[in-house]
């Protein structure tokens, strides 16, 4: 099973087992992880699933497309080098990823 480690802005972490092929956003929302909204359901329209990806995991991700890059300029908390929209991070089998959620998404 894939696993996602969600750490909130205050440092509390929860680990959620994820279904292969689901996105990090879907994994969060379906399990009620606070800190990720995903209002548009993953269609890259709302920028409310912003996460900061741990350095060791960030490098392994597929590079982002221009649309995601542009959307990241509109997040509620300013983007950083390791920012991604979690709806665009699809989980592979046995993948383990560590993300931190921003203080607010809206």
């Amino acid at each position: 099973m894939a696993k996602v480690h969600f750490t909130d802005f205050e440092g509390a972490t929860q680990v959620i087992e994820a279904t292969t092929g689901d996105s990090v956003m879907e994994t969060a929302v379906r399990n009620g992880v606070e800190g990720i909204v995903g209002e548009c359901g993953g269609s890259l329209s709302c920028a409310t699933c912003h996460v900061f990806v741990a350095a060791q995991d960030f490098e392994a991700l597929e590079p982002m497309e221009e649309m995601e890059d542009e959307m990241l300029y509109g997040t509620a908390v300013d983007r950083e080098e390791n920012s991604r929209l979690s709806c665009q991070i699809k989980l592979c089998a046995e993948q383990e990823i560590h993300v931190t959620t921003p203080e607010t998404q809206v």
């Binding site: 009620g32 606070e34 548009c40 269609s43 329209s45």
Partner: protein, 433 residues
């Protein structure tokens, strides 16, 4: 109206027993119903919540039905709002496949609803998140096999089941649903014709420039779009299935599927039974409370005061969008907690049509000037809407930076200087003032 009582304390409508009926009954397992339940738990609401829906599915998200789900890019599981564990852990009871037939309210806001199964659902508070239903197309042949609508998961499943055998599709209605589905069906290899009765596409939601942009882009991509189309009838193939759509001009357009997307009608039936004020939906105040002072009404079905700061006093609006379902539900959750919170954020909308991503920030109604920004080789197209020199909205195609900038400006109550904004090389966020 027949009622069935579960508890002696609820024996009669004339015998209010405050404090005995507990919990919140949410009728409508929709985006707004789900959000209301979730927001209440986040705010610390401790009463039991029942979330009841008439469809035989766990609560699911609708936007992908006309897009990714139709094209088999996502499965049904990814439409589900929350895991089963979530509902259990949060003490929220889901009831599927139940249609409420009657409601007996009491003066204190409590009451009892009875479903088509005969089960009674007593409640201390009631919320209606019942949404809207597709407007039916009325023309000869509208009942034929192969004529479909697209609102529910079952509608989408029916369309998906028909699709493999079809080569030609006629979409009646050039609004968001029609154009999204037309783009999807085209991507699935169908020859698609869109028939729009009005003089332009998406006439209710975007301005003329954006309508024309979509008409041209879709036409260039091979959609056959007919504006001001007049339909005589849907033609029977002789076996009760659709064969073509016949225009008043006499032209027949072949079709094995006719998809109707001509808007929705708010589901006011239960509101009428409750005696609530009805006017283009169920009328609510700024705290999502209906005219009886008790019933909470949220989302597509609610006619509410325009929530945009600075909008004309007394102006009312009914919004059909995910964003409104979410934000309105939050207002309603506070209201049920006895708190008064203003509607947060600026209304926004999206529509993905093939490789065109439309994002709309704000409400353009009442605009008196527009500014266009276009980067044709990148497929970027933006229209900014101004009222009395102040920005009120934007339609943005493949231009998320513009969308985000306008949303930020509106949320902050700021303006975007219109003159330099016409230069697409200038970032709008640098013009916010």
């Amino acid at each position: 109206m027949s009622t069935q009582t579960l508890s002696p304390s609820l024996a009669g409508a004339d015998a209010p027993a405050p404090g005995t009926a507990t919990g919140l009954l949410i009728i409508g397992a929709s985006q707004s119903g789900v959000q209301l339940a979730i927001s209440l738990r986040a705010l610390g609401y401790t009463e039991h919540i029942t979330l009841l829906g008439e469809e035989d599915h766990r609560p699911y998200q609708r936007p992908a039905l006309s897009k990714e789900f139709l094209q088999d890019k996502v499965g049904s599981e990814s439409l589900i709002f929350r895991s089963n564990d979530y509902w259990i852990q949060h003490n929220i009871t889901l009831v599927k496949g139940e249609r409420i037939e009657s409601i007996t309210p009491r003066p204190d806001g409590s009451g009892e609803a009875v479903g088509s199964s005969g089960t009674a659902y007593p409640y201390a508070r009631l919320a209606l998140t019942v949404g809207a239903r597709p407007r039916l197309f009325e023309a000869p042949g509208a009942q034929l096999d192969g004529v479909v609508y697209l609102r529910s998961a079952d509608d989408a499943l029916k369309l998906k089941a028909l699709a493999p055998e079809a080569t030609d599709v006629v979409v009646i209605g050039g609004g968001f649903i029609g154009l999204e589905a037309a783009s999807s069906l085209q991507a699935m290899g169908k020859k698609v014709t869109v028939l729009e009765y009005g003089t332009r596409l998406v006439g209710r939601a975007v301005g003329e420039d954006t309508s024309e942009y979509f008409r041209k882009q879709h036409t260039d991509r091979g959609l056959d779009i007919r504006i001001a189309a007049r339909i005589e009838k849907i033609v029977d193939d002789g076996h009760g299935a659709v064969q073509a759509v016949r225009l008043e001009s006499g032209e027949e357009i072949a079709a094995q599927i006719v998809l109707i997307g001509i808007g929705v009608i708010p589901n006011t039936q239960l509101g009428e039974k409750l005696g609530l004020k009805i006017d283009n939906g169920i009328v609510v105040d700024e705290h999502a409370v209906a005219s009886d002072g008790h019933t909470i009404v949220v989302g597509d079905v609610a006619n509410m005061p325009n929530p945009v700061p600075g909008s004309p006093s007394g102006e009312r609006i009914r919004l059909e969008s995910v964003n409104n379902a979410v934000e309105h539900a939050k207002v309603a959750a506070y209201s049920l907690m006895g708190q008064r919170e203003a509607y947060a954020g600026i209304p926004w909308f999206w529509s993905n049509q093939g490789n065109m991503k439309l994002q709309i920030a704000g409400l353009s109604m009442g605009f008196d000037a527009t500014v266009r920004r276009e980067v044709p080789d990148k497929g970027k197209f933006t229209v900014l809407y101004y009222r009395a020199g102040h920005i009120i909205a934007a339609d943005c195609v493949n231009a998320p930076l513009d969308f985000m900038a306008v949303k930020q400006a509106l949320a902050a109550g700021k303006n975007i200087n219109p003159d330099p904004a016409s230069n697409p090389a200038t970032q709008l966020k640098t013009l916010i003032a």
